[in-house]
Amino acid sequence: MARIGVFVCHCGENIGRTVDCARVAGEIGKLPGVVHSVDYKYMCSDPGQALIKQAIAEKGLTGVVVSACSPHMHERTFRRAAGGAGLNPFLCEMANIREHCSWIHEDREAATDKAIDLARVIVEKVKRNVPLETIRIPVEKRALVIGGGIAGIQAALDLADGGAEVVLVEKEPSIGGHMSQLSETFPTLDCSQCILTPRMVEVYQHPRIRLMAYCEVDAVEGYIGNFKVTIRQKARSVDETKCNGCGACQKACVVKNVPSEFDERLGKRTAIYVPFPQAVPNIPVIDREHCAYFKGRARGMKKDACGKCKEACARGAIDFAQEDRFVTEKVGAIVVATGYELYSIGKDQPAAGLKGYGEYGYGTVPDVIDGLQFERLASASGPTAGKLLRPSDGKVPKKIVFLQCVGSRDPAKGIDYCSKVCCMYVAKHTMLYRHKVHDGEATVFYMDVRAAGKGYDEFTRRAVEEDGAVYVRGRVSRVYRDGDVVKVLGFDTLNGTPVEIDADMVVLATAMRPRKGIEKLAQTLSVSYDRHGFINEAHPKLRPVETNTAGVFVAGACQAPRDIPDSVAMASAAAAKVLGLFSNEMLEREPTVARVDAALCAGCFHCERVCPYGAVEHKEVRDRKGNLLKVVADVNPGVCQGCGTCQATCPSKSVELMGFTDEQIYAEVNALAL
């Protein structure tokens, strides 16, 4: 039999002025199961709390109702008080007679009647509360960072400096991401490599960072604090433990004409290669698709077609027989920082809905390049050693036309969002161009210039005012090769006139898109992504670096188009969140989680489909002989956040949300009928 204690608070005058607290206590005291009902001036004060403790001890209460302010205000206070007297804290609840009653009504009679109802509802609920235990989950204080661009690098360094162990997984042979390809960076025009390389080296040398380059995340199990990650180490064909990065193998390699990914196909590399001289780790990898040895193998040749690198390597590091290996790592948190790639204007598109640019020749005109290619041409370490030469004939372009918003903000091409960084880097490109080619003419076609950011507007204005870039507001309808020049046909919407330019080169500021394969990774991590593939943050305003899966965080351009300062800020924020998580030995979670009754569950998995967190798993039910009887739903309490959507969806009510069970709510609804 329930023994409920009710404590009605006056909150000084705040409640007492409008609600007759003594009458509330008196009326509620008459309810069956209520053995103690009093009113008091300030329940949250020490003497108030002492009243609760005393009553629990003296009257053996099985539940406590504090009729006072909002539970958002003092639920913790009173639960702690109840807990202090040996009552399970979850047997204590609050009825809100201040915010929801005394403060919003003037009629004392009506307010008192309502307060009685509100208290009665909670009394009926508490009668059906069951003791719950705070869920404690041990935390594995290691973090996984996926993606080694600037965002991933920053997150890894902040985490490691904060004392956490880090596993950094990068799918390319080297970390660095797109920032390593940039020549100089807005808004300060400092050299990208110069600021990035030291951080890359720091990652490599950090005692708490395990760098796993040329690796990919294969599978993820578990939940916050306790993930088990399977990582695929792709075969480099080079033994990392032996290689010292001397580069002899690359000099020896006979295949020298593979288009370099790092140079955006404007330069060439060997089949055994490091992507760029400052690569971290500085260990080559054999590109098996182009390597003469592997090509020979593939053709079924008995004799080895090549082996020059192996001969050249003094340390015997070349290992043609290496295979993909799998390692598992236990981590407590994951940061996703897989970055972006650029919209390709070609005919073949990675996703339905994306259309490509037939009007710009689908990328067939050699002197029409994209922004990253321009970065490589302008970079001192690039294929032209920093001389601005156009790809078709190596001449210095005297006229360059830059097109903004190629793909971006163009639903007809499949993308309606703004890529955010293009306005800035186009302004940067016009400046870099004029610094290298003093008599060059830079013309920019734009829709609007969006340069919100510290020093950003000043930067774009400098491009016009100091470096003489000509900005034409309007779109370009066609780009085609006409003999030696690239014809650009556009329209100046401010003057209302058509524009025709014979350019030497055209640079397209193509849209930023999420990386290929991001959807699969997101599914592996059970985080949600938008229709473009950008990872969704848990809350657009208040939880920008968390995802909807507890323990998985997001940073950089994989969440939305981001520039370097934004990416770094996000990375540091994500690292701070993870360190906050790691500051606890045990994760404490409210036990308001769902539980499935396996005997009743029919295994329709509607609950799984609606759960925002992927907390519902499948569990096999077997008889004593081990025969499979059925497969039912099972909620992982580490993952469940307690929304209860599963329960409302379950047709047979086979899943119950603790703390808000059907019995409790039924009792509350019924209590209103009395």
Binding site: S70, P71, H72, N96, R98, E99, H100, C101, W103, I104, H105, E106, D107, A110, A111, D113, K114, D117, L118, V121, S528, N536, A538, H539, P540, N548, T592, V610, P612, Y613, Q641, G642, C643, G644, T645, Q647, A648, T649, L657, F660, D662, I665, Y666, E668, V669, N670, L672, A673
Partner: protein, 167 residues
């Protein structure tokens, strides 16, 4: 129909099912801002609109509520990211069904009230109360009425045969 019932003396009772994070907090804000409103609504706090089962609403009417309010976070603001989206589908089915069955539209009010919309919460409460007051008591289940509310002695609703709608 209920000619004997003095409409002005009828004080409807409404049950509100609200989510903890947006509407409950919005109602808290209305309190902190001392926004005066009708005293006819009793709130039942749930974690999320996703937890609100149409059975709650049916039961509330069975147990004598004259009106029901359902309220939670605006789309995209759900504390649990998508509980409210699933709830919205569920409520759409429920609302259309219940209307088809002849429950007058004004008896159930669906709303999104965020934690900052204390003012809106007041409007929702007052408007819903006014609508239900105009509709009169709900006695959709002739012969099975429960005792009147709030005060004893108030005229008991007089059920018209087969009636549950306006009177």
């Amino acid at each position: 129909m209920n000619a004997t019932l003095d409409k002005t003396s009828f004080e409807p009772r409404l049950t509100a099912f609200v989510c903890n994070w947006c509407t409950y907090t919005g109602a808290d804000l209305a309190g902190t801002s001392r926004l005066q409103m009708d005293a006819n609504v009793r709130i039942v706090r749930l974690p999320c609109t996703g937890r609100i089962d149409p059975l709650f609403i049916v039961k509330a009417f069975e147990r004598g509520a004259d009106g029901v309010i359902v309220s939670g976070c605006h789309p995209a603001d759900c504390h649990y990211t998508s509980g409210n989206y699933h709830a919205r589908r569920r409520f759409a089915f429920f609302k259309e069904l219940i209307e088809f069955l002849g429950l007058p539209e004004g008896r159930i009010t669906f709303s999104w009230v965020s934690a900052s919309e204390g003012q809106k919460w007041r409007e929702v409460v007052n408007d819903a109360t006014a609508r239900v007051r105009a509709l009169g008591p709900f006695s959709g289940y002739p012969g099975t009425e429960l005792p009147a509310w709030p005060a004893a002695g108030a005229p008991a609703p007089n059920p018209a045969p087969g009636g549950g709608g306006e009177r």
